[in-house]
Symmetry: D3
Subunit: 62 residues, 6 copies
């Protein structure tokens, strides 16, 4: 712990590596918890599977 | 917020759109929170990845 | 399954009962899955623990 | 309820069945809750999507 | 990783310790992943916050 | 979307505000998604409710 679940769009492996590195560093700096203690799961979602305000993102972002 | 995570089976894009629209409307009516404030993530799961009562759904629903 | 996780604000027991009944009925009608198969967890959150657009809701909703 | 979300690596259907059976039995024995009440979702993750200590598992497990 | 989220009822610290120890050991035996790699979060829920089949557990378990 | 769930220890409101601001900014910079699109839920956990390597953190961090 801490444990971060990140639900976002599809992304490249390079972006995942950068996201994991920087989110971990940022949270470490704010909370003073060692970087080694952090785990992150990135979940990649289709715009068909996300709703905002009652509409699918795949419809509103056309 | 509110934020809804919906774990269900595979479904068509039309069903996803209907589900997002109607769950948002329903929760809006119950809680009085504007529809714009709602986010929903639909997670589609294989029956091989769900257990109920100690058995996979893919076994019990054969 | 399906399984719904609902993150929202504090609410009364009456609202929880109504939310569980109506979300279940709504999803049942959309997907044709029996109501008995649905589980819902309601998580009640302080406005101090929710961020939107980089700000706590307890700050933006003052 | 109880409801278990298990984030792990890719695994065979046989391992999923064994995991669901044994986690359910174990939790039943500890808590005294009937096995029928347990639901489990297994989420299979790529090593590219998991970070530990600021690095992707796909990098540290090379 | 693996990461287990366990949503259950209120329980004593002794039960939490036993649950964490035995779920970790069980999953280790099934998957062959070292026990050190497992994290578990136990979330304790009021029966007012759980719905099954459209009804709160606090109503159906009276 | 994106949606971030952050499971960590108890923390002050000031730390929560800083965490939400900086995680949002960091993820915005990595992914190029507008800050307004991000939601974060902070879940505060007792060390009695977190297990690592089969032991409660409240035991290993004594």
């Amino acid at each position: 712990m801490p444990f971060i679940q990140f639900d976002g769009p599809q992304m490249s492996k390079e972006k995942k590596a950068e996201l994991v590195a920087k989110l971990t560093q940022t949270a470490h700096e704010v909370l003073g918890i060692p970087e080694q203690a952090f785990s992150i799961i990135i979940r990649e979602n289709s715009m068909d599977n996300i709703g905002a305000g009652g509409k699918l993102l795949s419809e509103t972002h056309k």
